[in-house]
């Protein structure tokens, strides 16, 4: 902290001297490397239901996670007490992983600067709760006004500001302030006994200025529309069909089908179906996939990762050929490559792992209209409630919440209860058209791995997959 000051120095008196002392303690049993991850996160949320503000909540979590690495082995400890003694104690606990006699002295930390990918103009954490409430009430009003069929609306808004700092035994010290907002909406439409729910959300690493370009009414009307659409939706077909994945949210397919399998820890451990396949063709030549932590204000972006490495735009697949994995420190050393800025963690209580940031497919040349026209009988999928992958065999599923039949090259009836199931490399080899209409999903996705959740972004142009198994009830 040669530059002096900083959040944790000002608030908790954690200066360079203390940091070096704790890192030194962490390496007292040997160990190749140690790092400290400081976190102070302030959260706030408001819930509206039945036109009433049903709850307001908030809080602070703070603490430090201390990691010691020797070879491939990690010792980890954390404490909520940001006092010198508690941190030294945690460092001694983490140090137990190491068993060498060689004592490594940490390099004195020096502050490193980061990009500023998410400047905030209207910080929610400095805005009176009543003003935030006024904005989100607009979503509630608009959803209920959309149609008398909309019987129930639940709106929630959450914001947080997370101060983090990473100090490493190889001399890096970096601090960041990571904002996040998210508006969520749930609508129930009811006609007789036919009740249908739809959910939606949006946000990102930004402040309340988000709503200047994304009026809450827009999201509200879109979710209400989906809830009503489901009233007339037909049961999903069952069997293998051509599927057009709409631009934007369909990026979740990419996240599941290839993203997780390209996280380097699974490949280091040889548990991914993409292990040892660098340079091989793993997708149609129309497919190029990147993971990019540097998209301004996107939900998955980071000024710095949780191990102190700067984010990059990493090419994972280029024209169908596997180019690289997403790395954290441990895996990068294993593969002998530079860390790719993908070392992320849920909180100070959790160790970092290779994680996605914003994962998307690059646009192609087809027009979305031509892609639809190319399908005689198939599905057009637009919105999803989530997906899951088995990274070892590559099988994935995802649940589609807004989908339509395509008949004779035209989009026809809405369909409900659609699940897509497939195998990552197999599905990507069947991509036969890629649209020129790239879209990044609005910030609503959270990714889970080993019990740790982190915010991510996804994106996709319109894409045609010649065949995916559609799990429905109506045998084709």
């Amino acid at each position: 902290m040669t530059a002096g000051g900083g959040f944790f120095a000002d608030r908790f008196g954690i200066d360079t001297r203390i940091i070096n002392e704790i890192l030194s303690e962490a390496l007292s049993h040997g160990g190749d490397y140690a790092d400290l991850y400081f976190e102070h996160r302030q959260t706030s949320s408001i819930l509206i239901e039945e036109e009433k503000v049903k709850n307001a909540s908030g809080g602070i979590i703070q603490g430090v996670g201390i990691r010691v690495v020797q070879g491939d082995a990690t010792g980890y400890a954390y404490t909520e007490e940001l006092t010198r003694e508690a941190m030294r104690q945690a460092a001694r606990t983490a140090a137990k992983i190491a068993s060498g006699n060689r004592r490594v002295e940490p390099v004195e930390v020096a502050r490193r600067s980061t990009p500023d990918l998410y400047p905030v103009r209207v910080p929610p954490w400095e805005t009176p709760a009543r003003e935030k409430l006024a904005i989100i009430r607009r979503a509630d009003v608009a959803a209920r006004a959309y149609d008398a069929v909309i019987q129930r609306v639940v709106v929630s808004f959450a914001d947080e500001v997370q101060h983090m700092a990473v100090a490493t035994s190889d001399g890096t010290f970096v601090e960041d302030v990571q904002p996040m907002i998210r508006l969520n909406l749930q609508c129930l439409s009811e006609e007789g006994k036919n009740r249908q729910t739809a959910v939606g959300g949006g946000g990102g690493r930004m402040g309340l200025e988000y709503f200047e370009t994304h009026p809450p009414e827009e999201l509200a009307r879109d979710v209400a529309r989906q809830a009503i659409l489901l009233q007339s939706a037909v049961d999903a077909p069952a069997g293998v069909l051509p599927v057009v994945l709409g631009a934007g949210d369909s990026g979740i397919l990419l996240h599941e089908a290839v993203g997780h399998g390209l996280e380097a820890d699974f490949n280091r451990k040889q548990t991914s179906n993409y292990a040892d396949r660098l340079g091989e063709t793993v997708a149609s030549s129309l497919v190029s996939v990147v993971d990019d932590g540097t998209i301004p204000s996107s939900r998955g972006s980071i000024d710095v990762d949780d191990e102190g490495n700067l984010p990059r735009k990493n090419v994972l697949i280029e024209e169908g050929v596997l180019q690289g994995y997403m790395q954290d420190r441990i895996s990068a050393r294993h593969f002998g490559v530079a860390p790719s800025g993908n070392g992320r963690r849920e909180s100070f209580r959790a160790y970092p792992m290779p994680r996605m940031t914003n994962t998307y497919m690059l646009p192609g040349e087809s027009s979305p209209e031509d892609i639809i026209r190319a399908v005689d009988r198939g599905l057009f999928c637009l919105s999803y409630s989530g997906g899951q992958v088995n990274i070892s065999n590559g099988d994935f599923v995802f649940s589609v919440t807004e989908a339509y039949l395509i008949e004779g090259g035209r989009v026809t009836s809405p369909v409900k209860g659609v699940t897509l199931i497939g195998n990552g490399p197999d599905t990507l080899s069947k991509v036969t058209m890629v649209g020129a209409d790239f879209q990044l999903s609005d910030g609503r996705w959270t990714c889970g791995k080993d019990g740790q959740s982190v915010p991510v972004g996804v994106g996709m142009p319109t894409v045609l997959v010649s065949g995916i198994t559609v799990g429905g009830t109506q045998n084709e």
């Binding site: 307001a56 809080g59 070879g71 137990k96 999903a236 899951q388 065999n393 198994t469 045998n475």
Partner: protein, 453 residues
């Protein structure tokens, strides 16, 4: 003073602070504990985690308006500020006659028996023993069959802690709690460079009740090997047999539909069906927080309401919904003591030890009864719609041919509607399998659509 008393005293202090700052009512949940976790992979220690942790959540009501705060900083000045902030936060919420603490009648008679929530020997188990357990577990997988080539690691973890809840109307309760688990995931190499993986785990409150590491390792290996050569099957509707460890998930889905929250939000296919047949007469589902030593056991719920055994479904008849205080008042019912509460949020409706009662059929009889169908061992994805009962999930398992388990299947999907699925339960096994806080026997469903080729 032991740590349960210390936590109770802290919770009482914070309730007092909230009252001082103007709360009419308040409750405080304090949770603290220590955790240890070791992962052994390919014979080496991959990761060791050891830490202590604590937090408290404060809920206030000011003129019927609720607000919630949480913190992990227990400094007196911080807690005083927290109490004041929380009372101020309630200024923006709306008064709701259904909001508030439970009626005192609901906790007046407290549960007095010994639920065996805490393993007194756990703190004395040396970390080296846990490391050795993980090693033995992994070694058992590799030793079972040379085709097991990779492990994602065997993990042994333990936690001990305390939980205390106090409210401003006179409720106070606390208990020590413990947990231990052992798990492993392994892979076998299949043709075409594919990997086939599966896992097994054991989780208990008492360390010495964990399945032996050799058993956990062997079962994971055995399961992974059964997937070798897995393939898709042609799309068609067939009978489906749910493996007992997976049928737990179906029971969990039914409990979500039977939540008072879903009823209050009109988002459940069980609406208007209390007292009606909703499942085959073979089906009985119970939620029982009073089973000694089980992971979901507790003397009182997340609001202090005395725990009781609740029937969800008896002989196929839907007994009724589960409620916390708020959803009970909203729907004109009484709480069933089913509130669950975390540190950071409001109480919500949840289950404790949830299980489907065993039937009479043996596993072999059930398999033998199927001419052409699916033995379901795994489900994937999010395709369950509680509002409509529509069910569509990714699946894996083995095909049943002429009453015998045959080749493995993968990359398929099963679809149906929960109302028909529950009515279509034709056989229930005598092999009730309880793990953690959930239990179910093997069961056979008449017909589900299997999508594949």
């Amino acid at each position: 003073m032991d740590d349960t008393e210390r936590s109770l005293n802290l919770a009482e202090d914070v309730v007092r602070l909230a009252k001082k700052h103007g709360a009419d009512d308040a409750d405080v949940l304090v949770a603290a504990g220590t955790e240890f976790e070791v992962t052994v992979r390919q014979g080496q220690i991959d990761r060791l985690i050891e830490a202590g942790s604590k937090a408290l959540g404060l809920r206030v009501f000011v003129g019927g308006r609720p607000a919630i705060s949480y913190t992990s900083d227990f400094a007196r000045t911080v807690l005083d500020q927290l109490a004041q902030d929380t009372v101020e936060r309630a200024a923006i919420t709306d008064s709701d006659p259904a909001a508030g603490l439970p009626d005192a009648d609901e906790w007046r008679t407290q549960f007095e028996g010994d639920l065996m929530l805490d393993d007194p020997a756990l703190s004395d188990v040396p970390n080296d023993t846990k490391i050795e357990m993980a090693r033995r577990c992994e070694a058992a997988s590799f030793g079972f069959d040379p085709r097991i080539t990779r492990s994602d690691g065997a993990t042994c973890s333990t936690e001990v802690g305390v939980r205390a809840l106090v409210n401003s109307r006179g409720f106070g309760g606390g208990y020590r709690t413990s947990g231990a688990s052992l798990q492993i995931e392994v892979m076998a190499d299949d043709e075409d460079g594919k990997k086939r993986n599966d896992h097994w785990y054991s989780v208990e409150r008492f360390f010495d009740r964990l399945e032996p590491p050799e058993e956990v390792g062997r079962k994971a290996a055995e399961r992974a090997l059964t997937h070798l050569g897995a393939r898709k099957v042609p799309t068609r509707a067939v009978p489906v047999v749910w493996e007992n460890q997976l049928a737990q998930r179906l029971v969990g889905i039914i409990a979500r539909a039977a939540s008072g929250e879903a009823l209050h939000r009109r988002q459940t296919f069980l609406m208007d069906l209390e007292g009606e047949p909703v499942a085959s007469a073979l089906v009985t589902i119970i939620d029982d927080p009073l089973i000694p030593g089980r992971l979901g056991s507790r003397p009182f719920d997340g609001e202090g309401v005395t725990s009781r055994r609740n029937e969800l479904c008896v002989g196929g008849i839907f007994s009724g919904f589960l409620f916390d205080t708020y959803t009970a008042r909203k729907t004109g019912r009484r709480t069933t003591g089913s509130a669950v509460r975390g540190i950071a949020g409001a109480p919500s409706v949840g289950t404790s030890n949830l299980f489907m009662e065993a039937g009479t059929a043996s596993f072999e009889e059930i398999i033998a009864s199927v001419e052409d169908g699916l033995f379901l061992t795994d489900l994937m994805g999010f395709g369950v719609n509680i509002t409509t009962g529509d069910f569509s999930q990714g699946a894996a398992g083995r095909w049943i041919e002429h009453g015998k388990l045959s080749y493995p299947v993968t990359e398929i999907n099963i679809s149906g509607n929960l109302q028909e699925m529950l009515r279509g339960i034709e056989m229930i096994g005598s092999d009730l399998f309880f793990r953690g806080s959930a239990g179910a026997p093997t069961l056979r469903m008449a017909r589900l659509m299997v999508s594949g080729l």
